[in-house]
């Protein structure tokens, strides 16, 4: 699964009742994932959760298969209002109490997993809540409570993965395999042009059937691909999408190099469009700005307004004294490094 650039608001965060706080005795709705639950009930659930924590949370905390104790919301949605474990009003139903007594019906016969059952520990005074108190608690639960199914709110943004990056740059910059490799008649890449910063998935076809036969050609390309989070499926290495320093280092270098190749490539209109290297900000200002706007829409997916064009034109103009090619290379690379290009 891809790690994500997720910025989510935990909807229940505002409803958390701190341990030790005086419970709200009113029947006012408490908010959070449990809908229609009174503040008093939520407070009691928090107290039970806190009392069970020493015996249970080390195995059932955040990241575990059953993270009942990751938060109060988790405790309520995964355990309290999950009829597999707890049936409000009916302590004799659900799996929780039998498990605590050592009479579980599934693969797990008791909790804790080994040694004395929770019930035995409670009898010995080694727990912070007794079985009788747990029974009372279940009997007091409101069966009318439902659970909020809406999920977290917030901005969702993903980073382009390595395959997206490679394909997007090929498409948008007018590049192909032969710009980076000597390609056989049947399309199989052979020797790589190392200075072109080639990038290729380790399992992508066609591939020379004996990579070792082509000196080190594929290895730098494979390494660049996996450094940008690309998978190596042959070796069961999955895609990674974090924005790591390794990713940024490789991406910035690759983007700049590929832009340069695209700009220099004969008859390639992907970056310059209808312009030539004779069109400068002096001789064809409108054309240069229009091309910037075209690139912006093509690559960012957003019609460019004057502020966007101005910002990129400043980059272009800064480098134009060196050469028009360098200026468009810098402009192209600047767009690729924009977070809006890298994310979607």
């Amino acid at each position: 699964m891809r790690p994500l650039l997720i910025v989510a608001v935990a909807a229940a965060a505002a409803c958390f009742v701190p341990v030790g706080a005086a419970p709200d005795a009113t029947d006012a709705p408490a908010g959070g994932a449990a809908v229609g639950e009174s503040a008093a009930q939520k407070s009691r659930n928090q107290a039970v959760m806190t009392a069970l924590d020493p015996a249970c949370a080390r195995c059932h905390g955040t990241g575990s298969n059953k993270p009942f104790f990751a938060s109060l919301d988790a405790f309520e949605t995964l355990l309290v209002f999950n009829s597999r474990y707890v049936v409000p009003g009916h302590p004799d139903q659900g799996e929780l109490m039998p498990l605590l007594r050592g009479a579980g019906s599934g693969a797990f016969k008791q909790m804790p997993l080994s040694g004395k059952t929770f019930a035995a520990l409670a009898d010995a005074g080694d727990t912070e809540i007794t079985m009788a108190e747990l029974t009372d608690w279940i009997e007091s639960l409101d069966a009318a409570v439902t659970l909020d199914k809406s999920g977290a709110n917030g901005v969702v943004q993903q980073r382009l993965d390595a395959e997206h990056i490679q394909r997007s740059m090929f498409d948008q910059l007018g590049l192909s395999l032969s710009d980076f490799w000597q390609v056989d008649a049947d399309g199989t890449p052979g020797e790589a042009y190392a200075d072109a910063y080639p990038m290729r998935a380790p399992d992508e076809l066609p591939m020379n059937p004996s990579p070792l036969g082509h000196s080190n050609s594929p290895y730098a390309a494979w390494g660049r691909y996996t450094a940008m989070g690309g998978p190596n499926r042959l070796a069961r290495v999955r895609t990674r999408s974090e924005v790591s320093p390794t990713f940024l280092l490789n991406f910035v270098q690759t983007a700049q190099t590929w832009c340069g190749i695209a700009v220099a490539k004969p008859d390639n209109t992907a970056v310059l469009g209808t312009l030539t290297t004779s069109d400068t900000s002096t001789s064809n200002l409108a054309g240069v700005r229009a091309n910037i706007a075209r690139l912006y829409l093509r690559m960012i997916g957003e019609p460019a307004g004057d502020p966007e064009v101005d910002e990129l034109f400043a980059v272009y103009a800064h480098y134009e004294p060196q050469s028009v090619q360098v200026a468009w290379t810098a402009t192209c690379a600047s767009i690729l490094r924009n977070p809006l290009w890298l994310t979607y």
């Binding site: 910025v7 938060s71 998978p231």
Partner: protein, 609 residues
């Protein structure tokens, strides 16, 4: 939270200002942070942002086609005159993407990610995956140019058949070999010339089954290689043999490299992901992935299964079956090939190429029905199991070989299909002493309480000289294996009685060694809180995955991460996961159905910038 990532991007100085459209609130300038916010104020700054229509198109195209929109595709959105018109264009973009070959390709890639089954046939195993004797070709300048000769598999008085190409014996004496014209399995509708006994059609003699191979990694041979009176041939339509030429890089002659398009090794690696894509593409229930009786195979891959099945003489009827004739193929193929193409990923009911992976359906029809069952309890039944029910990716060769043993296999499948994680227990947790059963004793039970009831179903799947086989099925019973065999030694240590993995008594095992291979959940054992109906083998596991709801719960989380842009958090969003799973089942468990529902939620699809 990954707010750090956005902060990093801002630090590159490339952020070009506000691009949000439709929001009533202008975001704060980069670098300003609302005081006291836990995430650096990113949430507060960007909540409320909505994607513009063109950025939405970009998101749709990236998520479904794996690429960014073309200039023409953007133009269609910007040209729309109203919000309704734009929504129609975006809706059409979703539908056309779902119908595109690019979507199929994305599903192959997603299948690799989802299943995480790697390559097993890129090492020495590639040479014996085909379990076939090898045929080479006479050189262009020889007396029989292009004719096939068997190399390493046959000897006539110890000679080298390569000399047959020039009508010679290996000692140089004159010999005109018999020449036979045969339609080969690898090229239906054509005819090849075969020199010598390879083309004689002899299938068996003197107790030798010519259809079985033996030998080493490089020189697979047929059963009677060292016999001076050897008579074996390559069988009808040369099905015991495979063309081999190390000089070729493509086509049927080079079947070993995972880097060669069309090579058997490559097809073995791709099969699980291709089945995944096939299910998504053809709107099959997602559950077919673990309970379906079919897979998808090009011709070369079918040959692998047939050869493995032929390792057991009881499957000799395969010699005359039509597994290699395109006219016998039916069912959908992948959108990149035409029906009948030898490279097409054609749907194939597994039993038709390996009789011990049972179809359990009327007329060997493709099926993912939960009614399919095969039960066999060696504690009470004599003889051997007929096989195990075919079960989607669970019974593909590469998955069996990628995960070495039943417990490893079970753990990986629990991770893949039930979203389980296996983490060590707290360091100071106390456990009872370990004696014989890791599922109930010692620190191992922390994980093996879950793993072993799943592992039970995979006990028969084993490897026999780096190729898969089914223990206790057909000829592969306990006594078939010599005492020095690595499998037998391991089974003796791992399949001990009075354990969760082998719930039989020591006395029962001593009375019938096959009891060790008991591979169903019986006697009230449960998995995912459910009792099994007694179905043995991987199909039993697959059925419990589906019937318990675990497959759906895990699938919607992974599908949401892939198509919805973020992973769901079971600790805080279980009700949403439950609802998505309920709807997923109601809609027939189709991937396209899930995607359509997700993309139809405009509010969620617009979140972002």
């Amino acid at each position: 939270m990954r707010h750090v990532a956005l902060t990093l991007l801002f630090a590159t100085g490339c952020f070009a200002g506000d691009h949000e459209s439709g929001s009533s609130e202008a975001p704060a300038a980069p670098g300003t942070t609302p005081a006291g916010s836990a995430d650096g104020g990113v949430t507060a700054r960007y909540e409320g942002h909505r994607l513009s229509p063109t950025r939405r198109l970009r998101r749709i195209t990236l998520r479904l086609r794996g690429r960014q929109p073309t200039a023409e595709e953007y133009a269609a959105v910007t040209a729309a005159a109203s919000d309704e018109a734009r929504e129609r264009v975006l809706g059409e973009a979703v539908e056309s993407a779902l119908a595109s070959v690019e979507f199929y390709e994305q599903m192959v890639a997603f299948g690799h990610e989802y299943l995480n089954i790697g390559d097993y046939a890129s090492g020495q195993e590639k040479w014996i995956a085909d379990a076939a004797a090898h045929l080479s070709r006479c050189a262009a300048g020889s007396k029989h140019p292009g004719a096939y000769i068997a190399i390493g598999a046959f000897s006539r008085a110890g000679g080298d058949p390569a000399s047959f190409c020039d009508d010679k014996e290996s000692d140089g004496s004159d010999y005109v070999p018999p020449v036979t014209a045969i339609e080969p399995w690898w090229a239906p509708g054509t005819t090849v010339q075969v020199l010598g006994r390879a083309g004689s059609g002899v299938r068996a003699h003197d107790g030798v089954d010519c259809g079985q191979t033996g030998g080493g990694i490089y020189d697979t041979w047929l059963g009677d290689r060292d016999d001076d009176n050897a008579l074996c041939s390559c069988g009808p339509n040369l099905v015991y043999c495979h063309p081999y030429d190390p000089g070729e890089s493509t086509g049927p002659g080079y079947h070993g490299s995972v880097f060669t398009p069309g090579a058997q090794a490559r097809q073995l690696f791709e099969e699980p992901a291709r089945l995944f894509a096939h299910i998504a593409w053809n709107d099959r229930p997602f559950s077919d992935l673990v309970v379906g009786n079919y897979s998808v195979m090009p011709l070369e891959l079918r040959s692998v299964y047939v050869r493995q099945a032929r390792a057991d003489s009881t499957n000799a009827a395969l010699d005359d079956s039509s597994w290699w004739r395109p006219s016998a193929w039916s069912g959908p193929v992948d959108p990149q090939h035409a029906a009948g193409d030898r490279l097409a990923w054609q749907e194939v009911v597994l039993e038709t190429v390996h009789p011990n992976y049972l179809a359990l359906s009327a007329g060997l029809a493709p099926s993912g029905s939960l009614e399919r069952t095969y039960r066999f309890d060696p504690r009470t039944e004599t003889g051997n199991a007929r096989g195990v029910g075919a079960a989607g990716v669970l019974t593909t060769f590469v998955s069996t070989m990628s995960f070495a043993r039943e417990r490893v296999r079970a753990a990986r499948y629990l991770e893949t299909f039930a979203c389980r994680q296996f983490l060590p227990p707290p360091a100071d947790e106390k456990f009872n002493a370990y004696h014989r059963d890791p599922a109930t004793e010692g620190v191992c039970q922390h994980c093996h309480t879950s793993i072993d009831p799943a592992a039970v179903f995979f006990k028969r799947l084993t490897s026999n000289f780096a190729t898969p086989s089914l223990a206790g099925v057909g000829s592969f019973e306990w006594d078939h294996f010599p005492d020095y065999d690595g499998n037998k030694k391991r089974w003796g240590l791992a399949f001990v009685g009075e354990t969760v993995l082998t719930p039989a008594t020591t006395a029962q095992i001593e009375a019938n060694a096959e009891v060790r291979f008991l591979d169903g959940l019986l006697d009230g054992q449960t998995l995912f809180g459910k009792k099994s109906d007694g179905t043995i083998g991987p199909l039993g596991f697959g059925k419990l995955l589906v019937e318990s709801g675990e497959l759906d719960q895990c699938a919607v989380q992974k599908l949401h991460a892939r198509f919805g842009g973020r992973a769901l958090d079971p600790a805080s969003e279980q009700p949403l996961i439950d609802e998505l799973a309920r709807q997923f089942v109601k809609d027939g468990r189709t991937v396209r159905g899930f995607v359509r529902a997700l993309f139809a939620d405009r509010e969620k699809m617009e979140r972002g910038f």
